[in-house]
Amino acid sequence: MTHRRRRGHHGAPWPLGLPALAGAAFLLVPLVGLLQRAPWSALPQLLTDPAVAQALRLSLVSATAATLIGMALGIPLAWVLARVRLPGVNLVRALITLPLVLPPVVGGVALLMAFGRRGLLGQYLYEWSGFSLPFTTAAVVLAETFVAMPFLVITVEGAFRGADRDLDEAAATLGARRMTVFRRVTLPLVGPSVVAGAVLCWARALGEFGATITFAGNFPGRTQTMPLSVYLALESNPDAAIALSLVLLLVSVAVLVAMRTRWLRAGGVS
């Protein structure tokens, strides 16, 4: 009796409990599979391969560059979306979040059409400087920025929207010009959200595959990032693919842990 009553209080009815269990298992089993198949003994050797180091370095550098560009452009964009009341702002907000749901390959094709040698803007760039953007490291950064920046923008925009406008007014009465108010009051107050948005943006950029391979191609040392080399290694050297995957998994877990403990709880991310 007691046993049954306790189950009734703490458990879930089976129509909910069983699918929940299946769902959790479905999400976790592949990760277990990855860990179980990991060539632990060969790992040091696989990971010190110069090609792996090259891909890892390229990934870290390009994801970081994409995040910095994302912050430089995305924070002001988020502020404008949150604070400027002009007709069309809502439409812009809807459009800039499109990359969130757009298949990345489509993003890559779109980038080619815009920045390719004969693209909307790319043709002028090529005429003017003889520089063609696609299939360069810069193209990797661009592709990652395109896909990842919206994560930062929507996170920070929500924070700007929720930030206390009263404090901006107080700063103005104390003689602060609008840029000073932004720099010394608004931005510091949304700091945790900026960090959270930047981490999300960085993690998304690090894992970018579709837009990168479409717009930047797959050249080792130049445009071949970690996800690309994982995909290629899977055909030639599955152990290497698993090793590379483990590295990306580790980075993701680190990001998740950092977000949970430091920023998601304390910050204003909703």
Binding site: A172, T173, L174, G175, A176
Partner: protein, 390 residues
Amino acid sequence: MTQAGGSIGADERPVAVTAQGELCFSGRAERGGFALQVTVRVAPGESLAVLGPNGAGKSTLLRALAGLTPLTAGHIELDGVVLDDPSAGVLVPPEQRRVGLVFQGYRLFPHLSVRDNVAFGPRSAGLPRRASRAAADEWLARLDLTALAARRPRELSGGQAQRVALARALATDPALLLLDEPMAALDARTRLEVRATLREHLRHFAGPVVVVTHDPLEAMVMADRLLVLEGGRTVQQGRPADVARRPATDYVARLVGLNLYAGTVAADAGGEPGLHVALSGGGRLYAAGLPTSGLDGGAAVPGSRVLVAVRPAAVSVHLQRPGAGSPRNVWPGRVAGMEPSADRVRVQVRGEPDVLVDVTPAAVAELALRPGLDVWVSVKATELDVYPEP
């Protein structure tokens, strides 16, 4: 008592007429369908309390002075400088006005220490970090906050936060100081302490001070002059003592705890040398001769509209109709309610007219006063203050 000015049109464009350091506000400000229209001047060193019920336009007045809500007509001038004048296309933004504002709820920056909160103004004015912190330290010392300099606002008590907000506003060296409900966020006990120190600090401020409040005591204690707003208009303006003695509206009368009746001077004084007032709400009151009533000859003409103020303590309550006696005003009523306060009981009596009567708790016991009891009330004619309706 000054009434609000009429509509302010473009043809009445102001010329610089303010004295040195003086504040002149004469305009209209609109905020969310509500319009405030007042005219007021505040001399340097003078403090004006703006009193009024919620939604009277008190905060809108402060926001217009600070530049947070632009005027739609009229002008604001401070120390000879026009800050806002829509007809002339002049609008000085908040950050360029020499106006210090202590917000309701204080609005301290939560991410900055007390010192950096106070240093924010000097720093925004272009002082280097070190110099602005030094300036802040000076104000912190003056307001007895030095020990709290390193704290964050969330670590402060209400009274401390209020002083920090005051220090922060004063550190910008304002030519005009505005305080929005400075006591509202404090509990009753802190309020007493803070009121004394605040008054002391305001006394040292050289420019005009405008304090918004809905607490009449606060207004009386802190201000040299009162401005009472209702529905966006001035209903009364004057020295606290005058406003307290001769309220112009029911709202003010309630605030200062007086019985107030509107009425007209009756033609027939019954052959006596006093003044009969027929009250608009029913009933008649007899006031003593003109010298006490304070009416000039013209206003005492039969038919002119007057207000009659009576202190509740000047009214007596009786179980039977009082016999021969000096009070000239005697009427029956019924006790409608009783409310104890400090050392007396305020009794509401329904009659013609209704009246509030202050009696001692001993009198309540002796007369066995209770709601529903039929009583008689009396007031001496000399206790009535009759003055023209503004």
